[in-house]
Amino acid sequence: MSVTGVEGEERDDFSRAESKQIRARSLRLLGSLVRPLRWRIVGTMVVLVISIALQVAGPALIALGINTGLPALLDQNDWMPVALIVGAYVFTGIVGAALAAAFQVISARLSQAILLDLRKRVFLHTQRLSLEFHESYTSGRIIARQTSDLDSIRELLDSGLTQLVSGLLYMGFTAAALVILDPVSGIVLAVSLIPLLLLTRWFQVRSQTLFRQTRVASARLIVHFVETMTGIRAVKAFRKEPRNARQFAGHVEDYRDANARVIRLFGIFDPGLVLIGNVTVAAVLVVGAFRVVDGALLIGSLLAIVLYTRRFFDPAEEMAMFYNSYQSAAAALEKISGVLEEKPGVPDPTTPIDLWKARGTVHFDQVKFSYNEDAVVLPDLELTIPAGQTIALVGTTGAGKSTLAKLIARFYDPSEGAVTLDGVDLRKLHPKDLRRAIVMVTQEAYLFSGTVADNIALGNPEASREEIVAAAKAVGAHDFIESLPNGYETDVNKRGGRVSAGQRQLISFARAFLADPVVLILDEATASLDIPSERLVQLGLQTLLADRTAVIIAHRLSTVAIADRVLVMEHGRVVEDGTPAELIAGTGKFAQLHAAWRDSLV
């Protein structure tokens, strides 16, 4: 068994080989992110090591001051040693603090560089992946990869990792200082490591499950909350409030309980650390005090030993948290590396063919399309759409109309055969030329945050304001845009903004108009319009489509009137092909549909 890409992402029962493969994949990704920065990482480490060594020096210097400085002053009234030691203390203090501060900044630069690289990579790759991938992977998951997963990696890089490394170094240097000062106390400290490790391990294991529970509980709470607030009309209309309040109280209690458990865990871990630290202090005190009496240990050294021992445990709590952030970051990286491993199903050509001026002849050359072995959508399609012709696609849901349209727009590639534009296989056509020549407008007219003008300009970023307005006028969107609070400068995505579904479609029509493609595909693009608007659009379309190749899919047969040619599709095959007049006059499927539709109008 092997897992590639996002396959098996939701599973948690990977075999050993699969886990290894996934880990190797995320390590490869990590390596590729870190490699260009390796020398900077080394430099950062050097800064950190020196800084911590200097920070740890303090108690040793106090010991030195009491052990040698004080006697020198007492016996010879010699200020030199004390002055030197205090000078050294101030020096280590300044340099240590300065380096620690510098480390903060350079480590942030490092982690931000890695994050930026990763962000861009995932974003770009997401955009490259085919629609087929997006449709099966769902938008929620791909967004989660780029937001919450990247956040956990950021958290690890930002605090987790630096805390772990500096904590380890701090403990290491403190222990080393202790051993140098007094090896016997070092042994006591080493013994204290046993309960420390046991306690930390226990905390890690427990906290991992508990943290997961809080995340699950908070996610439920949030989903319920957001659903209630966004669906408040339905909540009120169907009197869901009391039931909601009960459900929500349940979620709140679960979340509270999960939180309380985590807090209780800290309530044991934190005093536990203090306890271990304090017992160790008492132990080194006993072990040291007897030797002070014997004269084997200087009193200043005992002070330093006590101070070091107390400080040794300081980073332990934060370090224990590292494991959690590491766990979630590792999981996140595994998922992200899976997405990055996905091969784009509709890849850009390696040696693209330019097509500066397309005429607009579209040809389906024995095209077969299937999502998988079982679901063949188009068995074998042979079709030529001459340049300038307007085609209407008619047929029931699932007949393959949208697939045909998406193949022309190269949202998908055919499983067999080829789709060509002016004789050039779309797969070889330069993406820029392809997108300039062929534009598709769909039913869900998505608007991006920004102004109305920005959204229209997406069709052609270089367009002037006059051209934008002209495009809006051409599709009958100008009047309603002018009536918006700030006209073309109105922000469309202020949620609850009063741009209706129909108006969104008008804007997306204007966008397509501005793009001025040779081939225009309209997939249910007028479904949300009210009748007067639809009429306007149709008027606009007649001029817009006059010299273009166009493919129109519409449930409402009124659209068909402007077509030169109608294709009736059934089960992925074209069953009728002719001018509207010919088909209406005939006895086929279209004639029946048309008759039924005309009956519905009266």
Binding site: V86, I94, V105
Partner: protein, 640 residues
């Protein structure tokens, strides 16, 4: 932000935070107990150095090993006590703290559910969410941690300085003076930092929005080949965030520098002073020893004051934000003495209804401007008008999602404001154009309006629920649910299976039908359905509407066909009421709204017919020619 709350004079931080007292009251004894435990822990840690001083100046100086054990034992006991007190503090405070948080959260949620739709129009759910989650989290942490430690650490610092000064006035003062800049800087830092952190958070939000849009709008981006364009925009935003993050790191570096430097310099100076004093005999070695031990103990409380203060101000802001929602006055409430309709017949009357959105300027005409309309019991009325004419608003008034600005809406002669909202919404059920499904099973979503069936355990109720469910699904042509993974028990909504717009709409329709109301209000309920399904739904709906009063917003002639009468809405008024064919005949605006396309279509059809005739003629001519030529072929020159 809230526009209705008048600007009140800004409360002091203390008074502002004190507003959470009613929620915190039951937990206050625990919080005080926690403070006591924390203070005890602080005092214990301060006693340890005193014992150490006794040890150093006593047995260690005199060389009496017999005294070491008792001293070490005391240190051990004190150490254990410290751990115990810390544990007690957490134990006392933290669980009650979570209860406060839960209480506030439930209170907020109840208030939000009660507030009218107009409130929710103004507030994005994200803003409400951050109040319900992070703000309340912060308040809890402040109550059980920030508040307790702020008070206890302040006391500990005072006691600690008394102890330090007790050993040496000058060293104590030196240490005190050195720690003052730390408090000031710590406080300033937190303020500065929270500004940058806020900015980073906002930019992160923007970045997340860019990601969401790039994913949701992927078809548009691909269709226009604007992937590069959006990458550049995204990269710009990511760069901006990186800059802020580095600025944040610089701020942290600033505080780290001083947090590390000042204590070290203080210790170094104290070492110098201490050694000098000890040399003069003004300080024993034991006292010097204990001084450093105490100063080490005091490091954390001193460093903490800055961020505890800043946390307090954050908690204040969070409290303000919480009360911003809680103080909102609900304008749509139940009457004190509600009327009731025992057996509703379903007569729905709009009487001179005027409605103006609250954010509309006072001098502009209302969205609805004097609506008079009566739906007789059992009658189905279609509501027709161009986009923006107020159709949806009018439907929303029937269940008091909004209240009329002037005039009244009557159900069976009773002003709907005299009914409880619960009763009103039992009598009138709605289906919305954007169909909202909740994270629950298909069954629960459809039976949402029938809690008496779903929440009862009797077999009769269960059977009735099943019957209602089946019937409603059938009427809405929602048989697709049976092919879902778990049939009607499949979870849909945010946390479940995502359905297509048409599927969602059909379930929402089934939900309205299943509610079995006296009045059914449908806001363009079929817009996302294809023609075939639409026809089937319409046929089934007719059966329901035969006995139920119906108000249906319609965009298509076929939907209008379901209605007995049609009301034409134009510029906020009902300008005509009649049957479809009547209006078609007499009302030009109606023809414009509903049938101008039909005219066009008829024209197109006529054109087609004409072409057809032409073609036929052409064909006939061609046939004739063919025939003739055949005749020629057959008969040769004869007929010529």
């Amino acid at each position: 932000m809230s526009t209705t709350t008048p600007d009140q004079p800004r409360l002091s931080t203390f008074r502002a935070i004190a507003r959470i007292y009613p929620y915190a009251k039951p937990a206050m004894p625990w919080i005080y107990a926690g403070m006591g435990a924390a203070l005890a822990a602080g005092i214990v840690t301060l006693i340890i150095p005193i014992v150490l001083q006794g040890l150093v100046d006593g047995p260690l100086a005199t060389g009496d090993p017999g005294q070491i054990w008792p001293a070490a034992l005391i240190v051990l006991v004190l150490g254990v006590l410290e751990a115990v007190f810390i544990m007690l503090r957490r134990l006392f405070v933290l669980t009650p703290g979570t209860h406060i948080e839960a209480r506030m959260r439930n209170g907020l949620y109840a208030q939000l559910q009660d507030l009218p739709v107009a409130f929710h129009d103004r507030w994005q759910s994200g803003q409400l969410l951050s109040r319900a989650v992070s703000d309340l989290n912060l308040i809890r942490r402040w109550l059980s941690f920030g508040f307790v430690l702020l008070i206890v650490n302040s006391i500990t610092i005072v006691i600690g300085f008394v102890v330090l000064i007790n050993w040496s006035l000058w060293l104590g003062l030196l240490f005190l003076v050195m720690s003052i800049p730390l408090w000031i800087y710590g406080y300033l830092f937190e303020n500065k930092y929270s500004v940058i952190a806020r900015r980073a958070q906002d930019q992160q939000g923007d970045l997340a929005t860019a990601v969401e849009e790039s994913v949701h709008g992927i078809r548009v981006l691909k269709a226009f080949g604007r992937g590069k364009h959006s990458l550049l925009k995204f990269a710009d935003q990511a760069e901006l965030l990186r800059g802020t993050e580095i600025e944040k790191a610089k701020a942290i570096a600033g505080i780290w520098f001083w947090l590390l430097l000042i204590p070290d310099v203080a210790f170094a100076l104290c070492l110098l002073g201490g050694v000098a004093l000890a040399a003069n005999g003004e300080l024993t070695v034991g006292e010097l020893f204990a001084f450093f031990a105490t100063a080490t103990v005091l490091r954390f409380p001193i460093e903490s004051i800055g961020f505890l203060l800043s946390m307090t101000f954050d908690a204040r802001t969070a409290t303000d934000r919480f009360f911003e929602v809680m103080d909102e006055i609900n304008t749509i409430t139940d009457p004190d003495e509600p009327a009731t309709i025992a057996a509703p017949t379903g007569r729905l009357t709009f009487e001179n209804v005027v409605f103006r959105y609250q954010d509309a300027a006072a001098d502009t005409p209302g969205t609805l401007n004097g609506i008079d309309l009566t739906l007789e019991p059992g009658e189905t009325m279609a509501l027709v008008g161009i986009t923006g004419s107020g159709k949806t608003t009018m439907t929303a008034l029937t269940t008091r999602l909004y209240d009329v600005t002037e005039g009244r809406v009557l159900l069976d002669g009773v002003d709907i404001r005299d009914l409880t909202r619960e009763e009103l919404r039992r009598h009138i059920a709605m289906a919305f154009e954007d169909a909202t499904l909740f994270s629950a099973s298909v069954r629960d979503n459809v039976l949402l309006g029938r809690p008496e069936l779903t929440e009862s355990d009797t077999p009769e109720a269960a059977a009735e629920a099943e019957r209602v469910l089946t019937e409603a699904l059938e009427i809405a042509q929602a048989d697709f649910v049976h092919s879902l993974p778990s049939g009607v028990d499949t979870t849909v909504g945010e946390e479940g299976l995502s359905l297509s717009g048409g599927q969602r709409q059909r379930l929402a329709l089934a939900r309205a039908v299943a509610a079995n109301p006296a009045v059914l209000v449908l806001d363009d309920p079929l817009s996302a359905l294809d023609v075939d399904t639409e026809a089937l739904v319409e046929a089934a709906l007719r059966r329901v509407l035969a006995t139920t009063t119906g108000l249906i917003v319609a965009h298509r002639p076929s939907t209008v066909q379901m209605a007995d009468r049609v009301a034409l809405l134009q510029e906020g008024r009902i300008t005509d009421v009649g049957t479809h064919s009547e209006l078609l005949k007499r009302n030009e605006h109606y023809r414009y709204v509903l049938s101008s396309l039909e005219d066009e279509e008829l024209a197109a059809a006529e054109r087609v017919d004409r072409e057809l005739k032409q073609a036929e003629e052409e064909g006939r001519r061609r046939d004739a020619i063919d025939r003739e030529s055949r005749v020629i072929d057959n008969e040769g020159e004869v007929t010529r």
